[in-house]
């Protein structure tokens, strides 16, 4: 479904954030991305939907090269790929409903925006999405009135509005406590199994990776240093682990 070939990303200041990264994501998969802070996880996820322009390499979406797609066509690709962020990235002063509805913008005619208009179906969809993430009663609250976990659920609902084939989740639970983390990842898992939405999720904690991911790739200094199933992680030797997490890493948690 998604193929990344020899991806290299150099920031304008010269930082090489990704170096020759290649991997493949199969349809319906729950793929984890692990790595230390600064290893390039966010950069990788943002290159996939071209929030960042990769310096070299190719990105194939359903066998179509989208690396140099012009803006107009990029829109149709982006709307198939939902994204969930560590900082939720909601418009804090807007209502929950508006935030969820904005997930539909890839499908609505741009000029409707001037009149702040969404179709009746879209509103209906938004309520359904909120229902699915369990906060239908918060639709008319302002986004910043919600707790962190609730805000991330709004983030997921917004991604759902896109009717996505894939969801990119960039450390969706890093700013939440463990209980909430399980609840949020539970929603992603449900979408993965029930709706057959492919999930590409970067995570910090190995126990979460082992609990939710089918397959994992490990990044270190912008290179893929590990690729395997969750069983592989469970039986990973400490040396191998240090390869990903650096010399002074300590193993935390466990399945």
């Amino acid at each position: 479904m998604l193929t990344v070939e020899h991806l290299t990303m150099v920031y304008p200041d010269g930082t090489v954030a990704l170096k020759d990264v290649s991997f493949e994501v199969k349809e319906g998969e729950f793929l984890g991305v692990i790595g230390l802070s600064g290893s390039g996880k966010s950069t990788l996820l943002r290159c996939i939907n071209r929030l960042l322009e990769p310096t070299e390499g190719r990105i194939l979406w359903n066998d179509k090269d989208i690396t140099h797609l012009p803006q107009g066509e990029l829109r149709t690709v982006r709307r198939e790929i939902g994204m969930v962020f560590q900082q939720f990235n909601l418009v804090k002063r807007s209502s929950v409903l508006t935030n969820v509805l904005s997930g539909r913008l890839g499908y609505t005619p741009p000029s409707w925006a001037l009149a702040n208009r969404f179709s009746r179906q879209d509103r209906e969809l938004a309520f359904q999405a909120l229902q699915r993430v369990g906060i239908p009663d918060k639709a008319h609250n302002r986004a910043d009135e919600l707790s962190g976990g609730q805000q991330q659920r709004v983030g997921i609902a917004r991604a759902l509005m896109q009717d996505p084939k894939m969801i990119l989740a960039d450390e969706p639970v890093a700013s939440l406590d463990p209980v909430l983390a399980h609840s949020i990842l539970g929603y992603l898992e449900k979408l993965n199994t029930e709706d057959n939405i492919t999930v590409l999720c970067s995570l910090h904690y190995l126990d979460l990776v082992q609990r939710y991911c089918e397959r994992v790739i490990g990044l270190r200094n912008g290179r893929i240093v590990f690729e395997g199933s969750k069983e592989d992680i469970a039986k990973m030797s400490d040396e191998r682990f240090r390869e990903i997490y650096g010399e002074d890493a300590i193993r935390m948690g466990g399945a």
Partner: protein
């Protein structure tokens, strides 16, 4: 015991180098420079020279005496005298600390004390110093005090840097850190202060001596409300006829009767002798009349006047009270001697009948209508508020969309290829041109601009903007599609070439501008005009080459930061427009559209657009980028991103800035009238010129009340929204 005591560290007196001091005495900063403190030396040299020149120039200008040679001589003499005084004081201190206080580190008597003493001395014996060193002639045409104080400061600065050089020279050899320049900075500030004091014409004695001048006005400006109302006035005038001189047997016209309702006056007797002023001097009083009156307005003044038989009225002097206050019953009783009125020529026969006139100009205590001034001031105020309001409104409408172009975070991701940019440029030009055609057509079918100005204006805006944007988009797409047929490189080079050619036109204008601007200043307009085309051509070639060179440099990435370029241009324009005061625009606008509120509105609008756009764009730049990223990821286009991610975030600051700007605009528009921009300032200036201080007071009060109210309202609104 002795062990527990901490020995005080031995501090050596800093070493000095006489050589470096001497160098700096001759050329300021030279000692420091030689000692290795290059920047310090140069700074000191430049500072001393600048301050010296500035003082000299100020003194010469003030004296209206441009003989710089003479002024320089005089000024140098003052500086030297001051330096001598300071050196004397320093020597005194040295002797004192060394031999009397036995304090080689000179800690008891600080250098600052000496400098302070020096300036105090200059203040008190300055006149004597001037009288000693200047000739009488110089004294008469040079503003001595400016020279004195700046000279004293310059002398101090000079000596300070000599000491500094000696110290730096000494320490350079022992390799220590350079000391601070605080002393020099303080002295330099003193000098500048002395010059400023003189240039701004600060004159304390005058301010104290002549405060009464304003003391008379001030009450009228501070409490002008009497003039805010119109007062009804009633004039009563009643007459008692008196015969004088009184021939034997004459009885006179007789006392008037007492009236029941109307004002009346009655005198006895009604026949008598006139007062006489003999040529030898003195005064023989005429017959004393007893005057009673009634039915006047109580508590107010009446005037008693006299009219001779010919009818010329005058106020008799020395014959009795002529200004009386009516008692609570509406009447009065008084006596008056018949004055020395001129009578008809002696040839005139018959009785000489004079008139005793009692006149009251009664005034209501409370006015029942607003005065003319008050009405004018109120209308002016309304106009002022409206000017502020309209300027703010137009400002918002124009600044809001423009501010997005001036927001770096929104503009910097916008990249373009030469292929696209070429199409964009051509498309926007074509679209704009089409828009103008549409406007012309609409204007013609609506009966002309005069007939339907608002409609034509709106159609014009929409047509030019809409078609321009459409052209931008369409042109970009078309040219990209067309140029890709030329192959990857072909399209790039062709579009880069055409862009460079297009840029040649602004380059030509720039070249002409250079010729007409800078060259004509240097060579004179006529000479510069002869070959100005050459400069235009040079500019065209230069700019075209530069553009092409730039695009050539981008041939690998093929990404031109058009967004950033546009941002730079728009920002610069805003900054330039903003840096000129609205008052100046008002002067221009008054010439353009004539005196009046429209000129003010126009001027204020221009300034408002620029400053609001700046403020708005700063609000945009400080938003949380997260939602932008999220909406990009969703597939939203730029317009949608702005509406759903940017606008909600900037709304509070935008409202706050706008209200604040409205506040400023009303405040500004009170002044705009001073330069012909309409509003209350216009009439205020007239009243000031006519010395109508009560009217001035009314206007000032109204402005103050409005501004205070607005201040309150605007801060309330802003508090609600932030």
């Amino acid at each position: 015991m002795a062990d527990s005591k901490i020995a005080p560290p031995v501090v050596e007196a800093p070493r000095r180098s006489a050589l470096h001091g001497l160098l700096s005495l001759i050329v300021p900063g030279l000692g420091q420079f030689v000692a290795g403190a290059r920047t310090r030396g140069l700074t000191l040299l430049v500072t001393v020279l600048t301050l010296f020149g500035l003082s000299m120039w100020t003194i010469a200008q003030r004296a209206r005496f441009p003989e710089y040679a003479v002024v320089t001589g005089d000024y140098l003499r003052i500086v030297l005298a001051c330096a001598a005084l300071l050196v004397f004081l320093l020597a005194l201190r040295h002797l004192l600390t060394r031999f009397v206080l036995k304090d080689p580190l000179a800690e008891t008597f600080s250098l600052y004390g000496v400098v302070l003493l020096f300036f105090v001395l200059v203040m008190f014996v300055g006149d004597d110093i001037l009288a000693t060193v200047l000739s009488a002639e110089s004294l008469s045409h040079i503003h001595g005090m400016t020279g004195l104080y700046s000279g004293a400061a310059l002398a101090a600065l000079w000596l300070w840097q000599v000491g500094d050089a000696a110290r730096i020279g000494g320490e350079h050899l022992t390799g220590k850190r350079t000391p601070s320049m605080g002393g020099a900075i303080v002295i330099a500030c003193l000098l500048v202060f002395a010059l400023g004091y003189n240039l701004t014409g600060v004159n304390l004695p005058k301010a104290i001596r002549e405060y009464q001048d304003v003391g008379i006005l001030l009450p009228r400006i501070l409490w002008p409300w009497r003039a805010a109302f119109a007062y009804d006035q009633e004039v009563f005038e009643v007459v008692q006829k008196i015969q004088a001189p009184c021939p034997d047997g004459a009885t006179g016209p007789g006392s008037n009767p007492v009236l029941a309702n109307d004002p009346w006056v009655s005198a006895t007797p009604t026949c008598g002798d006139l007062s006489v002023r003999p040529t030898t001097g003195g005064l023989i009083l005429g017959t004393e009349l007893t005057i009673t009156a009634g039915n006047f307005v109580p508590g107010q003044e009446v005037l008693i006047r006299w009219a001779n038989p010919i009818g010329n009225p005058f106020t008799p002097r020395g014959m009795g009270e002529t200004t009386l206050i009516i008692d609570e019953n509406g009447g009065f009783t008084t006596t008056l001697n018949i004055p020395d009125a001129v009578v008809s020529p002696e040839t005139a026969s018959g009785d000489q009948i004079h008139s005793l006139i009692v006149r009251q100009e009664s005034v209501r205590v409370f006015g029942n209508r607003l005065s003319n001034e008050m009405n004018l001031a109120l209308i002016g105020l309304l106009e002022t508020i409206m000017i502020g309001l309209m300027a703010t409104f137009f400002g918002i409408v124009a600044a809001f969309p423009l501010s997005f172009l001036a927001a770096k975070n929104l503009m910097s991701p916008i990249m373009g290829t030469p292929e696209r940019i070429l199409g964009n440029v051509l498309g926007v030009l074509a679209g704009g041109w089409l828009g103008i055609q549409v406007t012309d057509f609409a204007s013609a079918s609506l009966g002309g601009l005069e007939a339907a100005p608002v409609q034509v204006f709106l159609i014009g805006m929409l047509a030019v903007l809409g078609l321009g944007i459409a052209g931008l988009q369409l042109g970009g797409r078309l040219s990209e599609a067309a140029l890709t047929r030329l192959g990857k490189d072909g399209g790039y080079w062709v579009s880069s070439g055409v862009l460079a050619l297009l840029a040649a036109y602004p380059g030509y204008i720039l070249g002409l501008g250079f010729s007409r601007g800078i060259r004509s200043i240097v060579l004179g307009a006529e000479v510069a005009a002869i070959n100005e085309e050459w400069y235009g051509a040079l500019g065209a070639v230069l700019v075209a080459v530069l553009v092409f060179w730039y695009l050539y440099g981008k041939r690998h990435t093929r990404r031109v930061p058009v967004g950033l370029m546009l941002y730079g241009v728009v920002r610069t324009i805003f900054n330039v427009v903003r840096s000129v005061e609205a008052l100046i625009y008002a002067i221009i606008a008054a010439i353009w559209v004539g005196l009046g509120p429209f000129a003010g509105t126009l001027a204020l609008t221009l300034h408002t657009i620029a400053s609001l756009a700046k403020l708005y764009s700063e609000a945009i730049e400080s938003i949380d980028p997260g939602p932008l990223e999220a909406l990009d990821a969703v597939g939203a286009n730029r317009l949608q991103t702005i509406v759903y991610a940017v606008v909600p975030q900037i709304l509070p600051p935008v409202i706050s800035f706008t209200v604040y700007r409205w506040d400023i605009n009303v405040r500004m528009s009170t002044l705009l009238g001073f330069v012909g921009g309409g509003g209350i300032g216009f009439i205020l200036l007239q009243w000031i010129r006519l010395y109508q201080y009560e009217a001035v007071g009314i206007a000032v009060w109204l402005i103050a009340i409005t501004v205070a109210a607005l201040d309150y309202v605007s801060s309330e609104i802003r508090e609600r929204f932030v």
